[in-house]
Assembly symmetry: C2
Homo-oligomer: 119 residues x 2
DNA sequence: TTGAATACCTTGCAACACAAGGTACTGAAA
DNA sequence: TTTCAGTACCTTGTGTTGCAAGGTATTCAA
């Protein structure tokens, strides 16, 4: 990768990392999913997550009491671990909604100031 | 801090980290600033950065060719290191604008799907 | 019984934010 | 003229965390 795209890709990754937990909770608030399907849904909106990221993360979120899971047979292949969001998880999700809104508003502001000046 | 606010604060921090470089470039695209004033401007929009974060970061961005600096006398106290964005920096900033827009769009989408289903 | 597809999980490394601790310059007060 | 407060710069060490790589297990079909 040349340096031109590297810096941007790097930051794109960095930005994504910031919203990993948030997006997982958002997705699970819309319905139960298993790891691979979460990865796919995030990929669909261009938020790339690796397996090595999501499995430990789901375990952590479960430990924190934000998630639970149940095993479910798969049409083919090994059984799937369906994660579901808990009441506590939903409660936390509300806070994350605000956190995201606040960040987005902040970026919006410095963006506008920046444009208003020299750009 | 109780666990209720801890999880949210933690994620708020995580989200902020994702946009650190982006916000610095945004601010410098609006005019030259020195470290402390950058910290202040970010604080104004609720993006908190520590000194121990920003100094190494500015050095890194300079090394990458995104920034330059000049020394300038201060009305009182030691001289200030004013950072300015380079042409290359502006060019990269365009890419970061897109990266941010894309992420925001992604979050928007999964948010809506989530609401449309169960929330 | 071998192979492909799907699913789960762990280990080790590297990046990075930041708390803590430090230096240095200025001007004013004691 | 020393001391203090304010401002500004910088570095070190630590803890967290994302992820590439490598691994196991299940199912079904060829």
């Amino acid at each position: 990768m040349d340096i031109n795209t590297e810096i941007i890709e790097n930051n794109r990754t960095q930005m994504r990392r910031g919203v990993l937990e948030y997006s997982i909770l958002l997705i699970l608030a819309g319905g139960d999913e298993y790891a691979s399907s979460i990865i796919q849904k995030m990929k669909d909106v261009n938020i790339i997550v690796a397996e090595g990221t999501i499995y430990p993360l789901l375990i952590r979120l479960k430990k924190l009491g934000l998630l639970n899971y149940r095993w479910e047979e798969s049409p083919q292949g090994p059984p799937r671990k369906y994660y579901m969001i808990t009441d506590f998880g939903r409660q936390q999700l509300d806070g994350l909604d605000s956190a995201w809104d606040e960040l987005a508003r902040g970026i919006e502001i410095i963006r506008n100031v920046s444009k208003h000046n020299l750009r």
